[in-house]
């Protein structure tokens, strides 16, 4: 029980760290694509990672960090 909880907290912590650098959960993305857009091709983890990196730093003039 406690072990489970610790695991959960650790997972969330790691997830938060990844999100800090702009990479959301890959499994959530896959899950979403499978259930909502089964007809579309799903990006591999590597493609997903690159797509997110370009989106975060590629600009579009939006700031994603502060002074």
């Amino acid at each position: 029980m406690i072990n489970n909880q610790m695991n959960h907290v650790w997972k969330q912590f790691a997830q938060s760290l990844r999100l800090m650098v702009g990479v959301p959960e890959y499994s959530v993305y896959v899950e979403h694509m499978r259930s909502v857009h089964p007809e579309q091709t799903i990006m591999s983890q590597e493609e997903f990672f690159r797509e997110r990196m370009e989106a975060r730093y590629g600009g579009k003039g939006r700031l994603n960090r502060c002074c």
Partner: protein
């Protein structure tokens, strides 16, 4: 029963907070322990979060747990992802926390710790956190649109364009002042310069490793990078001790300026995976880790505050920056109390990921309280230094001279205890050649942090390591911000110019992007260079300009919030944003006015220009100028600063006018006129996922 125990609990909390304030207030004249400041701050935060933010969330904004959020509506697994509130809190906090809250309170400490502390607490509770929370709420209810878009749709197209235009200039000033902090920290310091320079090959190595060998392994490459960083700090000591290598990495401020300008240009056109992304990993994780470490250090060690609660410099005669407590303390503290930039973040990626509306309170209001706490820790680190050392480090050479003797003499005259041995000892401890006039806040924070961290891990022998670790930590995320900011600025500029010259709008055109990058880099490079050669240290001019710019943006954001409240027909609650908006506008406009028209040349740009003009007519050359031609340049710079400050005033006043017009229009209509997305029910599975 439960109700009663809660009531008792909160009453005890209030009493504890009041007691801590009592200790701070009654112990005037004697030094107190930092723990009282920490306790007072934490009690204020908890009480404000529990009561004030709940009041705003439930009574005013009426956050609705059943209402659709952009994350669910546009869920794509990429930008729009419903995210757990604790996970998102980390993301949001990492995005808002930067150099601002660390540097502001350090500079403000010249007036003593009390004024900054009071404003950090009052400002965050009633202005900063309110702004972040409500902007997040407004954006969340409008498909997570950006601040510029929100102003366009709620106030009108013209004010939206004005705000965008203003934001671009704020960015230039921000990048210039951040770069200036790095230059000031690294000038004539081979150890620091080496470690910071080493981050470039380290990040590139990480980038290539990640691209070709281990894609997606963020944790692994970050750990490798971190290990290499630590090694580079250790190696830096050998570089410093070896005369040949030391000469290679020893650069003057002007040289570093050119290096940084070149770096900014190249880094912002390189592919992101090579340099920006990997360095962002390092700087983000290092930032979070160091902030946690510093908090633990401050609590365990609980250093004694040696800085007086108030110094004689509240009259505006201080050496670090010039100007009276009102309004300059408020624009100097800036980010830790209220930061306009957060309104860009709160209308950026965060609203796209909020799982449930009710989370906005914890994320918007809560993360800002945390940022204020970071500022409080920076204040503690600065106030824990011997005031003599603090002033030796932060006073410009034009005031205290360049030698230990002259610094000791001047600072002793101010009434602070300082001996030449104290300065040499500290210099030796941190492993530098000189600590005199290391303005900009970063070195002061580094010495303060080194004292705290070496008190927890290691002893004085470790101080040099921790000092350079702290310098690296700040330089790293400042460089990331410079590089990312130049990129963002380039896109902004292409967008703005594209309205007039269509060819500039093509972001994939190499020519257009090189031109826009060039304009951006020369924009901030210009202010940076001007700051570096300024005998008053540059910070004296640039930090207040930065503070004014930042607070102006906060004013704009708070005006937007006020307009939205009126359009929602929440007139009777409008005071929650009207009061901070009015205060921020008064501070900003007064400070900007004084920066232009004050008759003290250390404060007013026009008075400064006049002083130089007079010297020119008498054929006298004043430092930093070495010739009459350079004198003309100084005068020209003053007029540029006047123009920029005047521009900020015009932007704020025009947004204020448009805001008042919007409010008057909303007042006569008897139903809500906001442009929110129509109500939709959150899908049932959403509440299960929660």
């Amino acid at each position: 029963m439960n109700q009663l125990s809660k009531w008792v609990g909160w009453s005890l909390f209030s009493l504890l907070g009041a007691a801590a304030f009592g200790v701070i207030a009654l112990n005037r004249g004697e030094s107190i322990s930092a723990i009282w400041i920490v306790i007072a701050a934490v009690c204020v935060y908890l009480i404000a979060f529990r009561f004030y933010s709940q009041f705003i969330a439930r009574r005013v904004l009426k956050l609705d747990a059943t209402r659709m959020t952009p994350a669910y509506k546009h869920n794509d697994g990429l930008d729009h992802v419903p995210t757990n509130k604790y996970v998102l809190f980390g993301h949001h906090f990492a995005a808002i926390a930067g150099a601002g809250p660390l540097v502001g309170p350090i500079l403000a400490a010249q007036m003593g710790y009390l004024p900054s502390m009071l404003w950090l607490l009052a400002g965050v509770v009633f202005a900063g956190a309110v702004q972040d929370f409500i902007v997040l709420f407004i954006s969340m209810r409008r498909n997570a649109r950006s601040l510029g878009d929100l102003i366009k749709s709620e106030l009108g197209h013209v004010p939206g364009m004005i705000a965008l235009f203003g934001t671009f200039f704020i960015m230039l000033i921000l990048l210039a002042v951040l770069a200036l902090i790095v230059v000031k920290a690294l000038a004539e310091s081979p150890w620091g310069t080496f470690t910071v320079a080493a981050t470039i090959p380290i990040a590139m190595f990480m980038g290539i490793y990640s691209r070709y060998f281990r894609p997606c392994a963020i944790a692994e490459i970050s750990l490798i990078g971190f290990t290499l960083l630590i090694l580079s700090i250790v190696a830096g000591q050998y570089v410093q001790e070896d005369p040949a290598w030391a000469a290679v990495f020893s650069a003057t401020g002007e040289q570093l300026t050119w290096v940084l300008i070149g770096y900014g240009f190249i880094a912002s056109v390189l592919p992101v995976w090579l340099l920006l992304a990997p360095r962002d990993y390092l700087s983000t994780f290092l930032k979070i880790g160091t902030i946690v470490g510093l908090a633990i250090g401050v609590i365990i060690l609980s250093p004694e505050l040696k800085m007086p609660a108030l110094t004689q410099f509240i009259d505006g005669s201080g050496p670090v920056w010039s100007g009276d407590l009102f309004p300059f303390l408020f624009v100097t503290v800036a980010c830790g109390a209220v930061s306009g930039f957060h309104s860009l973040i709160a209308s950026g990626t965060t609203p796209k990921m909020i799982q449930n509306e009710t989370d906005a309170r914890f994320i918007g209001y809560g993360a800002m309280l945390m940022e204020s706490f970071v500022a409080i820790m920076a204040l503690v680190a600065a106030a824990a230094l011997e005031p003599g050392i603090y002033f030796a480090m932060n006073s410009p050479a034009a005031i205290i001279g360049t030698t230990v003797e002259s610094a000791v003499q001047t600072i002793s005259q101010w009434g602070f205890h300082i001996t030449p041995e104290m300065i040499t000892q500290t210099t030796q401890n941190v492993g530098e050649h000189s600590i005199i006039s290391r303005t900009g806040g970063a070195p002061t924070l580094a010495v303060g942090m080194a004292q705290i961290l070496s008190g927890v891990i290691g002893d004085t022998a470790m101080m040099a390591f921790w000092y350079h670790f702290a310098i690296l930590f700040e330089a790293l995320f400042i460089l990331t911000a410079v590089d990312a900011g130049t990129r963002a600025g380039r896109f902004m500029l292409q967008d703005l110019l594209g309205s007039f010259i269509p060819a500039m709008k093509q972001t994939d055109s190499l020519m257009a992007s090189l031109i826009a990058t060039g304009i951006c880099v020369s924009g901030w490079g210009y202010f940076l260079y001007q700051g570096v050669i300024d005998p008053l240290g540059g910070i004296n001019t640039l930090w207040p300009l930065f503070g004014i710019a930042n607070q102006m943006l906060a004013g704009i954001a708070l005006i937007l919030c006020t307009c939205v409240l009126f359009r929602m027909k929440l007139d009777r609650f409008a005071w929650i944003t009207v009061i901070p908006a009015v205060w921020v506008c008064i501070c900003t406009l007064t400070a900007a006015w004084q920066k232009i028209f004050h008759d003290n040349p250390r404060i007013g740009f026009l008075a400064h220009a006049e002083k130089y003009q007079e010297a020119v007519t008498q054929d006298i050359v004043l430092a930093p100028a070495k010739s009459i031609g350079q004198m003309q340049q100084v005068i020209f710079n003053d007029y540029i600063n006047v123009t920029l400050t005047a521009l900020f005033i015009v932007v704020l006043i025009s947004i204020l006018m448009f805001g008042i017009r919007t409010i008057l229009q909303a007042r006569v209509i008897h139903h809500p006129t906001t442009r929110e997305m129509p109500f939709e029910l959150l899908p049932v599975y959403a509440s299960i996922e929660k």
